[in-house]
Symmetry: C2
Subunit: 697 residues, 2 copies
């Protein structure tokens, strides 16, 4: 496949300007909220009006997928404007948007196909031209993002966009095994992927905690390994068709030889240790692993992979391969003997042996292997793809030897990172930056990963969206598009629009707070909302370390940590305001007034939250966080008073305040109080005296 991530000669220098400044004109019109940012944008004059006469015409290559795309486009346009477009336009009517498709794409979508498109909008009409239906799909999403309300009507600004992706592999992985995620929720996430031009859905179908795909050959796999929560083959085909319609490949993952306890509930004979096995209910890395020394294991896998290779049309088949702790292997004398007899020095070598055997089976059934870093073993065939949870160094190492890779390290959505932090991670950053241009072509892109220890059907959308849009932009847009401020503006816009597609990140937050408070009216639990808006779940894998009872798949995800978005917009806005205030020498009255208003709300919030804490155990759990927020408000206001007086704050006062902040910054109830660093910065500025002169950020 030809990795098409080389930018053509693009005027990307002007892009950030166009995206973020040109449209914020005297009429107060919004900027172009395009995400991912296109490779090339040229603004024109005027705009194209959207009204009920809007009609679309397809020319050139036609296929059912294009008809579906136009129907979906019109439905979506209707959602955005509430204009009811007739189901069928009268044949005589002039088309507003003319789409020309040059030729078909591959029957089974492949990485590296031509996804480019050119969209031209003038006040008189629009044209969308693409080599293949894939480009058309992307161009239609761009058009939808251009629709805005104006002083006269709904309209699209005149613009010419030439666009193509930087990387051919732009994926989202969803772990449906630790918590089962129903098909309709996967579908709306695929709708979200289409909106941000992602093109690979990586379906993590098996784990210690569940085997989620129906196997007709081995019905005990899903029958005993899923609590009845699995996808039928019919549903799987339905999802694949749904994704294909949206230009998205579906790569199935069957993780082996570790992460496989759920397989062993029905098939203990595959395991390296004696059974019986139960579905794992806890989180972590567990001992059970397939027996790589037993020929029956390979016979079984041969039949299963044959079945699954037929079910999933994509050329790539993910065999997992991560995190085998080797304990079952070490404890099994037969396996130890096998290692010795074959000269396999350690468990890595044993796993390499297993991996090679499975890769041969996958190849035999017409597929190419993709797997986590661990599958990259000297001598494996060149057609494998390495998905790196370890980082760019692994990719660089593989690419140096001629192997393809995609990056997931840095894109783990479950770690609770900010969008900006994900956004700063580049598949060709770090060690990969030193690769030759030819080697860099081997880095196909990346995948964000939604591991599901702490997500369920209710809150999964809020963990994926809108942050996933920032990762999608990293994988699509020119490498030079890196401004976080522009990214946040556009991410919030697309985040709001995604709710038209049924994604529930906004809605579930409100409903979960309602449940936590046990009150029905948002006014009644406003104090909880104020607190919730400025806390974030603890980052990385620290959550398990701080709970008294070990979480399991039966643990209700109904706490504040489960409800709040991974990133606090309110805290970010406050932090920016503090920076602005300090940078301005701490005497800008308007910034000070806004800071005081915000800090006063926080100071007074705990008194309002206490009655809620008394009636609900779920609010009671965050009572300390609420007290901390009030303390932050009080400290911030005191600091502003010092600054207003003009003198430096005394050292002992500063020390006392900073000690308090230090306590406040510790996670409680698995939550972090996000405005704490900004208040600390304010205190430090005050302590320098004068107009914060030495404390500029």
């Amino acid at each position: 496949m030809a990795a098409s991530h080389w930018m053509q000669a693009l005027s990307v220098m002007t892009l950030a300007v166009l995206l973020c400044a040109a449209r914020t004109n005297a009429q107060g019109q919004s900027q172009l909220n395009l995400m991912p940012a296109p490779a090339h944008v040229q603004l024109g004059n005027g705009s194209l009006r959207i009204d009920s006469s809007f009609a679309v015409a397809l020319t050139g290559h036609t296929e059912a997928r294009l008809d579906h795309a136009v129907q979906r486009f019109q439905r979506q346009l209707s959602l955005q404007t509430a204009i009811p477009f007739p189901a069928k336009a009268p044949p005589s009517s002039k088309s507003t948007l003319e789409i020309h498709t040059d030729h078909a794409s591959k029957e089974v979508q492949e990485p590296g196909e031509d996804e480019s498109y050119i969209l031209k909008v003038t006040p008189d009409g629009a044209t969308l031209t693409a080599a293949t239906p894939l480009g058309v799909l992307h161009g239609l999403q761009t058009f939808l993002q251009l629709v805005e309300v104006s002083p006269e009507a709904f309209s699209v600004p005149a613009v010419t966009i030439e666009d193509s992706p930087r990387f051919p592999w732009r994926g989202l992985m969803i772990d449906v095994s630790r918590h089962f995620i129903p098909l309709d929720i996967l579908k709306r996430n695929i709708d979200g992927m289409e909106a941000v031009k992602m093109n690979v859905f990586h379906w993590h179908l098996s784990e210690n905690q569940g085997f989620r795909a129906e196997s007709k050959k081995f019905p005990k796999l899903h029958g005993l390994g899923s609590d009845g929560l699995y996808y039928t083959q019919e549903e799987i085909r339905e999802l694949i068709g749904y994704a294909r319609d949206r230009g998205i490949r579906v790569v199935p993952e069957f993780d082996m030889p570790g992460h496989s306890t759920a397989w062993f509930v029905g098939h203990p004979e595959l395991a390296s240790g004696p059974g019986p096995y139960d579905i794992e209910r806890k989180w972590g890395i567990f001992d059970p692993a397939m027996d790589p020394t037993n020929e029956k294991t390979y016979k079984f896998l041969d039949q299963l992979i044959e079945e699954m290779a037929k079910l999933f049309p994509d050329h790539y088949f993910h065999i997992g391969g991560d995190e085998v702790n080797g304990k079952q292997w070490d404890a099994n004398p037969k396996i130890q003997e096998f290692k010795k007899s074959r000269g396999l020095k350690n468990n890595d070598a044993l796993q390499a042996y297993f991996s090679q055997r499975v890769q041969k089976i996958v190849t035999k059934h017409g597929k190419a292997v993709i797997g986590w870093d661990e599958v990259f073993i000297p001598g494996v065939p060149k057609d494998i793809v390495i998905q790196s949870w370890r980082g760019q160094a692994s990719l660089a190492q593989a690419a140096a030897q001629g192997y393809h890779g995609i990056l997931s390290n840095g894109y783990y959505l479950d770690l609770g990172w900010s969008a900006a932090r994900h956004y700063a991670v580049d598949p060709l950053g770090g060690a990969a930056a030193n690769l030759t241009p030819e080697q860099q072509k081997l880095v196909l892109g990346g995948e964000s990963c939604m591991w599901s220890e702490y997500v369920n059907p209710e809150n999964i959308d809020s963990r994926i969206w809108p942050r996933n849009a920032a990762i999608a932009e990293r994988l699509w847009s020119p490498q030079t598009v890196t401004d976080p401020a522009s990214m946040y503006t556009r991410m919030n816009a697309i985040g709001a629009r995604l709710e038209w597609l049924g994604l529930s990140h906004g809605r579930s937050y409100r409903l979960m707070l309602q449940r936590i408070a046990g009150l029905s009216s948002p006014e009644e639990f406003a104090a909880l909302r104020t607190l919730a808006d400025v806390v974030e779940p603890a980052k990385d894998y620290t959550r398990e370390q701080t709970v008294s009872t070990e979480p399991t798949s039966a643990t209700p995800l109904n706490r504040l940590v489960d409800a709040v978005p991974p990133e606090s917009a309110a805290a970010r806005a406050f932090s920016e305001l503090v920076d602005k205030f300090i940078a301005g020498g701490c005497h800008e009255a308007e910034a000070e007034a806004r800071l005081r208003a915000q800090l006063s709300v926080w100071r007074d919030n705990d008194a309002k939250l206490q009655p809620l804490a008394q009636r609900s155990f779920l609010v009671k759990e965050v009572a300390q966080n609420s007290q901390d927020l009030s303390a932050l408000g009080t400290a911030g206001l005191a600091t502003l008073d010092f600054i207003a007086k003009g003198g430096a704050a005394p050292d002992d006062w500063k020390a006392q305040q900073l000690a308090a902040i230090q306590q406040i910054q510790k996670q409680k109830a698995q939550l972090l109080l996000m405005p704490a660093p900004a208040v600390q910065k304010l205190i430090e500025a005050a302590a320098t005296g004068g107009a914060c002169s030495t404390a500029k950020p």
Copy 2:
């Protein structure tokens, strides 16, 4: 059928107290938010804890519907608590809720079947006993409404509830013809109906604007009469099964001889005037009507009704019958001759002739007729049911002659009335109050009606919910349950809970405001929200009278009038506060402070809204409403200043203010500014001087 709406000896006197006071105790626990209020409630001590060990057992009569009900109950309980209950409880586990069903209900549900249940909850467990599955369904909903968050856990208070409905026919009609409403939206509304114990879904399937049911015998009916927007017979069967599972009958309506233009697109030979016909796109009463003098009309209807009578199992078949203007009949010499030859004095007599013929056809196919007032013709068979859009007098007249009726007058959801106004309408009020007890039994209940000129899939939920819960309570609960304050508290609670079922009344409001403003963050369009929260759509049928271009089915429903809830909670709260302030002699400092805070927000809001009006034509449309709101704020604050000074406001000032209020009270952009009457009251109080002494409400 036996109308079972006679209350047993119920201690209803204590009911309002129990519902609204008993639970607001020292611990700040919420009241029992049950809606509809049960016939008899006896609170116990303590509460039953809900945790992951919760299990349900079915005893006595069993059937698939009960299994489904338990699964649905557990899903819903899981939504309310986020506790993941195992799909299958281990067989050994002790049940928390034991359900006993005495016997089956009728295969095809009938009005008047036993729907009673007894629910007993103690700290050790709960039992639900019912004669039939219908009672079990109702009892499970009551249990779900009892679940609350407590200082320790989720729990249900100890309570004994003996409950049965006052009326056997408690319906919701949805007009799917003027705007098509997709099946999934009907389903979630049926979920909502189940939650409030309604038991009839009246499916208004044909109209001038659309024929929405697939006919295999006459495929041109839906084929040419629906723009492709119709339900297949398979979908119809699916919905009927879905409703039956929830204890809800489905009554189809095929409106004739008027309201039938859409039939004539494919079958002009049925009409009384020459064709051809197009699907009607406008609203109102139109001329086309079936030809009642043509035997081919009855032959056609015989075949169609035969087909539909098989498709819809319910005993009742709705033939519409309303609003024939007679113009086509008058214009057709053949019809005039027919009238003369048969001695039919006027068009009413002609319609009566038609109605009798159709009723015979319906009866021939094993069904009983239900129709609007017009079908009540002297001498019709006693098994018909009259659905009255005219009022209780019609029902009383019919009942006096031994005919069954249900009330819809007073329950039209499209008129934009307050919940309290609907709530005050009693099927046995007005003229029906004078009926003998035996005659009153003939009044079977009522149906709320959602006519769909101005509702579409996006805003329909917000027009039905939560107000429909108030009507549901009127039809279920004892006649003595009438306190609006208690109703509003409980309606808001159930309204919030209904969102767990996917009903979108909360969500769509937010998204529609987002569209109107063209901005993605609620903070950015807060000023629009402030205005939107205090306006209501114009009441009754005044909307058409005030628009410059006649609305049609192609008119986008994207204006503020389409987005705001029919009833403003903020305006109601303000009005109550004004009443309280005046009643307290206008010198209660806390009430005054709250009034000032609210009035200041309104006064200052227009300046914030103006930038939004400059960027969006949909905001610009309500610029005058916004100025009016600011003027109200200014006037209210000036009034409070006068009152604070202690003297009476000068007459000329008062006159000037009241003249301004009069202008403000006029609808603009089809919206009413709801706080205006309360501000007027305040001005009038101030004008009396002193401590508002003569102005007590």
